[in-house]
């Protein structure tokens, strides 16, 4: 197999790699996909696919801490970061507890999953597009950098991504700051209607209706919208797009309008009739029991399998370059049989085009390890995430959290505005998770009631019913700007057992983002006062990511939105890929994934990454023709 020459060799079977693989194979090209995770995770035959997914479910049920990576195998031969490994960094000694080597000064708090399907297996599923001003942050607000692609240019690819992922939302609900009526194309509707907003959302919406908040002398009227999500709902009968298909005449991928088009929700990979609607399971992060939530395996399943070879348990380690032409000649990978054993064989994958889709951190690692694509010295730099700042308290009445997907509504007011000249933008999701994230509720409520309050029997039940059912969690995802010193590095002292590098991460949060947390806390205080929420928020210096701004302490959590490590740009001097998503240094090497994004905005990045993956696939097809 190794000696076969493919049209394209793709590294990574997550959402970016799956979209490129599906698009290229459907256009007739022969593709080899290398995946570091286990073979079992790629079973598509009904019984095997079910069995493997149930094994994830069982692992999740048995896990004491229900963190995002809890259900999925952590392989010694292809380790994944885990949020359980986080702790404050002491002095200048790197924390080497987990897969990441954390140099700090703040530990990097996000994870990802190195398994077939990638991090879409545990993602939340929020599918907001980025806003037009996010693409021109430097021009409009003098911050960060501009993208070499505009929102208008990316718009058709967002439509492709929304079909591929299967996004549920109502266009008429989607009102964002500083956007016009033309934000969505004329007559555009999402493939499926919106996921119902939770009871908790409805109570909260009632509480803040018509409310104005003051921030530094400016006044903003709050409004709440439903959140577009990559989970199945009732198909919208006005949806009339099919595709994308390769259009020879224009040399582009296009969606076609068709009156006969109707969207069929894509069910579980083991049974098309399972998961055709979201069933409201509250544990869809980290694992949707019925696969009503999108994951990249659904995309891979619909690739043309006769043109797709997949090699699993294959960890890409080096990009080989022809020194005279600068072209990539091969990807070297380490093939292991047993994920716990250090034994492997070295293999080579050859093709015309090479695509790294291994995740922003892993892509950077492979490039740095190979010494390629880095004439700009930007590989591994500009690592960004959303700083998740949480506030939590008890509502005046029962709102029944822990039902439905993690978050079904958000306040978009602070996603864009002139304040971005001074501090970061943020989106405010309203969570259905009670105090789960910051305080490990409801387990912690039970143990506190039993151990500290000595409650039992009816009293215990009454107490839990009264408190747990009133838990409200507000959530502020603050934008982080690209900073070259926030970076992924390599150090030969830190290797995994296959002899691949572990990511060494240096990370901090600038005042621009810290100021947003201060603004967020101020807004939260106003909301809590207005709605009558009893504040339980608590930020301690012992928290892993605790920081001080203006004399006040805040704790933030990672969002799992790892962006920017091989960014695109206008010039080869300060970016790794061009707007085509092609490395400036090697004409047959493309990068896909969130690493290409020059800024992060306030959208969970998967939808934008998916749109960019179609964009990249289009450029690759043009190249292969």
């Amino acid at each position: 197999m190794a000696e076969k020459i493919y049209d394209a060799v793709i590294v990574g079977a997550g959402v970016a790699g799956a979209i490129v693989a599906k698009t290229l194979t459907q256009a007739g090209y022969r593709v080899l996909l290398l995946e570091a995770g286990l073979q079992a995770g790629l079973a598509f035959a009904e019984a095997k696919a079910y069995e493997n997914y149930q094994s994830y479910m069982d692992t999740f049920y048995n896990a004491l801490a229900k963190v995002p990576n809890a259900p999925y195998p952590n392989l010694q031969d292809a380790p994944s970061p885990n949020v359980l490994d986080l702790s404050p960094i002491q002095g200048t000694t790197p924390d080497t507890t987990g897969y990441f080597v954390q140099k700090g000064p703040l530990p990097f708090g996000s994870d990802y999953a190195r398994t077939p399907g990638g991090t879409t297996l545990h993602w939340l599923g929020t599918c907001l597009r980025m806003l037009p001003n996010d693409f021109r942050l430097k021009t409009v607000y003098g911050q960060g950098v501009d993208w070499p692609i505009s929102y208008e240019e990316l718009k058709p690819y967002y439509e492709m991504a929304e079909r591929e992922i299967g996004v549920s939302a109502d266009v008429e609900d989607q009102i964002y700051p500083n956007t016009g009526k033309d934000f969505f194309g004329k007559g555009y509707v999402y493939p499926m209607r919106k996921i119902p907003q939770s009871y908790l959302d409805q109570k909260f919406i009632k509480g803040v209706r018509g409310m104005k908040v003051g921030v530094k002398g400016d006044e903003y009227e709050l409004y709440v919208i439903s959140t577009p999500q990559g989970r199945n709902s009732i198909p919208n009968d006005r949806y009339n797009l099919v595709g994308p298909v390769w259009d020879k005449a224009t040399q582009r991928l296009v969606m076609k309008h068709s009156d006969d088009a109707h969207y069929n929700p894509v069910g579980a990979i083991w049974d098309p009739y399972t998961g055709q609607r979201c069933e409201g399971n509250a544990n869809c992060v980290p694992i949707c029991p019925v696969q009503a939530k999108y994951n990249a395996l659904k995309t891979l399943k619909n690739a043309r399998r006769d043109r797709l070879d997949i090699v699993t348990q294959a960890v890409a380690s080096k990009v080989e370059i022809d020194p005279t032409t600068g072209r990539v000649t091969a990807i070297t990978y380490k093939k292991y049989q047993d994920p716990d054993s250090p034994e492997y064989t070295t293999e080579t994958a050859r093709g015309t085009i090479f695509v790294l889709a291994a995740h922003s951190v892993e892509n950077a690692k492979i490039l740095l390890a190979s010494g390629v694509a880095n004439s700009s010295n930007q590989v591994g730099r500009n690592l960004m995430d959303h700083m998740v700042f949480l506030t939590w308290g008890l509502m005046p009445e029962r709102v029944y959290p822990y039902r439905g997907p993690g978050s079904t509504s958000n306040i978009p007011v602070f996603r864009d505005g002139e304040f971005r000249e001074r501090h970061a933008a943020f989106i405010m999701p309203i969570d259905n998770w009670g105090f789960g994230w910051p305080a490990n509720a409801p387990y912690s409520d039970l143990s506190a009631a039993v151990n500290r309050m000595n409650l039992f029997g009816k009293q215990l039940r009454r107490h839990l019913n009264d408190t747990v059912a009133r838990q409200l969690l507000l959530h502020f995802e603050c934008e982080q700007l690209p900073q070259p010193e926030n970076r992924v590095m390599l150090d030969p002292r830190y290797m995994d057992q296959l002899g691949n590098f572990r990511p060494v991460i240096q990370y901090n949060v600038s005042d621009y983002t810290r100021a947003a947390m201060a603004a967020a806390k101020n807004i939260s205080d106003q909301i809590f006062a207005r709605v009558g929420i009893e504040d339980y928020s608590e930020y301690n210096p012992t928290d892993a990511d605790y920081l001080i701004y203006d004399g006040v302490g805040y704790t933030f959590w990672g969002a799992g939105h790892l962006v920017g490590t091989h960014r695109m740009g206008f010039a080869r001097s300060d970016s790794v890929v061009s707007r085509e998503q092609r490395t400036w240094d090697h004409e047959n090497l493309f990068l896909v994934g969130c690493g290409n994004m020059p800024t992060i905005g306030t959208s969970n990045p998967t939808l934008t990454m998916a749109a960019l993956s179609f964009w990249a696939a289009e450029n690759i097809i043009r190249e292969l023709q």
Partner: protein
């Protein structure tokens, strides 16, 4: 000679009979009230198979017998689709489906409503004899069996009589006078093959009926000696053949015919991976005041509220179907709980009794 044509529904196709049914004069449905009564019976008939299928499905121990579970589950979902389709036809001709009246649920074991009483259907655990019964329920009509309006031998014959009635009566005058807002539309149905067909004229009514019969029994008349391509990726197998795959513990392949039976790869069945539910459970098996009796009562209350939801959905409030979905989960959880409670020395277990119990007044 019966002509077979492909019917394409939602990108999948199956084969159905073409042309007009030929019904003997005596067996014809001649009046609109009679036609409505027959459609009400159709709804009851479609429903009457659901409790037996659910018992078999929920008696399978969690995680075991995956292929069989999927087959039974998809059949149940499609029986619900048939209820919707029959209700759509009844609503289209100005009728009012009645779903939540005390006699709506048959007393198991029972003969199928209006049948020729050749076999009884009970509430039983997943087993080979149970699948035998399911095969008889979904049995295609024998060649040349005439349609009968009252004592029909197969479900297909019963529907042919209705089809004939629809055609004849609409030749006399327009019978499709029902309020269109009472139709259940496509977006509410998922989880199984086929699709909802809103009914507003003869053509859509006949399509709805072919959908029912096509899914249930496949191509009738010529089924056992047919050499049509009935199987394969894009073809939805009729329920009869899907149950037959379980029975024979083997899948059909593209080359198979009804005559050849399934010759594909093995379909693994673990007849022991099942809760040993005592057949045909009843509330009266357990004294009043016992916890078990209350549990079965609670189950029945939930099941009857599910029927209430469906009743409202079929009578002008289609959105109630969304509630019914939530209720289905309660039905499932409570039924499985009952299946786990041992009731005698042999280790047999309790089970859902599917009896009508009125709301607490």
């Amino acid at each position: 000679m019966t002509i077979i044509k492909p019917l394409i529904i939602a990108n999948r196709h199956r084969l159905v009979r073409e042309g007009r049914p030929r019904i003997p004069e005596a067996a014809r449905i001649k009046t609109l009230p009679s036609l409505r009564r027959h459609l009400q019976t159709a709804i009851e008939l479609e429903h009457s198979t659901i409790p037996p299928y659910l018992c078999a499905l929920y008696s399978i121990e969690e995680g075991d017998n995956l292929p069989s579970s999927e087959i039974i589950q998809s059949v149940v979902v499609e029986e619900m689709l048939h209820m919707i389709l029959a209700s759509n036809v009844l609503n289209a001709i100005g009728g009012q489906p009645s779903i939540n009246h005390p006699r709506f649920i048959p007393e198991y074991p029972t003969f199928l409503p209006h049948s020729d009483k050749s076999f009884e259907v009970g509430l039983q655990k997943f087993s080979k004899p149970t699948i035998d019964t399911f095969l008889r329920i979904e049995l295609p009509a024998k060649p040349k069996a005439p349609p009968e309006a009252n004592r029909y031998h197969t479900i297909g014959q019963f529907y042919e009589a209705i089809e004939d009635g629809l055609i004849r009566l609409s030749e006399e005058k327009n019978i499709f006078t029902g309020d269109r807002a009472r139709q259940i539309t496509t977006e509410y149905y998922y989880g199984g093959g086929g699709g909802v067909i809103p009914v507003h004229d003869l053509d859509s009514a006949l399509k709805a009926l072919s959908e029912i019969v096509g899914q249930g029994e496949g191509v009738y008349h010529t089924i056992f000696d047919g050499d049509h391509k009935l199987f394969g990726e894009k073809i939805e197998y009729a329920h009869y053949f899907r149950f037959n795959e379980i029975h024979e513990e083997r899948y059909y392949t593209k080359r198979d015919t009804p005559k050849s039976g399934p010759t594909g790869k093995r379909l693994p069945v673990n007849w022991d991976g099942v809760y040993d539910m005592r057949p045909n459970p009843k509330m009266k098996d357990y004294p009043k005041g016992t916890e078990l009796r209350k549990k079965i009562y609670d189950f029945n209350r939930i099941y009857v509220s599910l029927l209430d939801d469906l009743h409202r959905a079929f009578n002008g409030e289609p959105k109630q179907l969304l509630n019914a979905v939530v209720r289905m989960y309660d039905v499932k959880y409570q039924a499985i709980e009952l299946m786990k409670i041992p009731v005698n020395e042999e280790g047999m277990t309790a089970g859902p009794s599917f009896e009508y119990v009125p709301p607490k007044g």
